[in-house]
């Protein structure tokens, strides 16, 4: 079995990755950590910050910095999880793609390679509401989807 773990930088996706370690060991499975970076998110963050701070002339510069930080942050997250998997002797690799989050996840999850998709119950908005991602992909992902909390 091959397991796809969705990593979005939230604590819940970190926990999903931990839960998948046990599963991977019991099923002798390979794990792929998967993240999607969406430029629209960097644009929105930069625009809102600059508009509220009255520094719209620096918008492009902020967008570039946020985009760079987003990539570094998700790379750091994935690397720390990879180290954990290596310590547990579970075969694991990582993948970061750019594009629409829903479309890229569905493309990967429904590629026919995976027997299970694992994600956190909540996203980066915290624990106040169920992950918007679950609403977006829950019905369209073909393999079983494990929602960890």
């Amino acid at each position: 079995m091959k397991i796809l773990v969705l990593i979005d930088g939230s604590k819940w996706s970190q926990k999903a990755a931990l839960h998948a370690i046990g599963l991977a060991k019991r099923k002798n499975a390979e794990v792929v950590l998967f993240s999607v970076l969406d430029i629209a998110e960097a644009k929105a963050m930069a625009f809102n910050f600059c508009a509220q701070s009255g520094i719209c002339e620096q918008l492009k510069g902020y967008e570039g910095r946020i985009w760079k930080d987003m990539r570094k942050s998700i790379e750091d997250d994935q690397n720390s999880i990879l180290a954990r998997y290596q310590g547990e002797k579970v075969q694991c690799s990582s993948k970061i793609v750019e594009g629409s989050i829903r479309e890229e996840i569905l493309k990967e999850a429904n590629s026919g390679e995976y027997g299970l998709i694992v994600m956190g119950a909540f996203g980066r908005s915290g624990k106040s509401r169920i992950s918007a991602l679950l609403e977006q992909i829950g019905g369209a992902v073909r393999p079983p989807l494990l929602v960890v909390r």
């Binding site: 604590k11 046990g22 299970l116 679950l134 019905g139 079983p144 989807l145 929602v147 909390r149």
Partner: protein, 180 residues
């Protein structure tokens, strides 16, 4: 230092400095404590069934087989539907509907239990009249995991949508949820 503390410190050390502890408290909703990092063992799995769930998929059984767990199958006949039928038609029609639903439920429970037992699971079954969302959330408190068909409690779910009851259950339960 635990993995999560190290993660939090790595992420926030440059920003908060000595205010690390207060950030940890104020923003706990976004951070992972050591207690929350614990992945509990799964010894019992709740699998709700209804007339929209015809079977457990082979893929879901394969995932569940990773846990050395007892599976509790629960078939719930919707109390609100029965009440509506009683009001709109008569008590006799309501009873007939309930009887037919329960006959179907019994067969579904037996068939599903037999299939799971063939895969080495020990099973328990339960059937009752209740509320599919609230009762499942309540029952989940006595289990370590829940496995839900994405169409559970919603015949209108399409190939690309998920039942709103399933989403509500996922929001409210404290256990991992497998959606198949």
């Amino acid at each position: 230092m635990g993995y999560s503390s190290s993660l939090i410190q790595r992420k926030f050390k440059d920003i908060v400095g000595r205010r690390y502890d207060s950030v940890l408290k104020d923003y706990s909703e976004f951070l992972l404590t050591d207690e929350e990092m614990f992945v509990p063992e799964v010894r019992s799995i709740l699998v709700p069934l209804d007339s929209f769930v015809h079977d457990i998929t082979d893929e879901a059984i394969d995932v569940l087989s990773a846990y050395d767990a007892t599976v509790s199958l629960a078939y719930i006949t919707d109390a609100d539907v029965l009440e509506l039928l009683g009001q709109a038609l008569d008590r006799e029609s309501m009873e007939e509907f309930r009887k037919k639903k329960e006959e179907y439920g019994q067969k579904l429970l037996e068939r599903t239990a037999a299939r799971l037992e063939d895969h080495g699971f020990s099973t328990q079954t339960r059937m009752f009249v209740g509320h599919k969302g609230d009762d499942v959330i309540q029952m989940a408190k006595n289990h370590d995991m829940i496995a839900l068909c994405r169409r559970y409690a919603d015949g209108e779910a399409t190939d690309t949508s998920i039942s709103p009851i399933v989403l509500r259950i996922c929001q409210r339960v404290e256990t991992p949820a497998l959606i198949y």
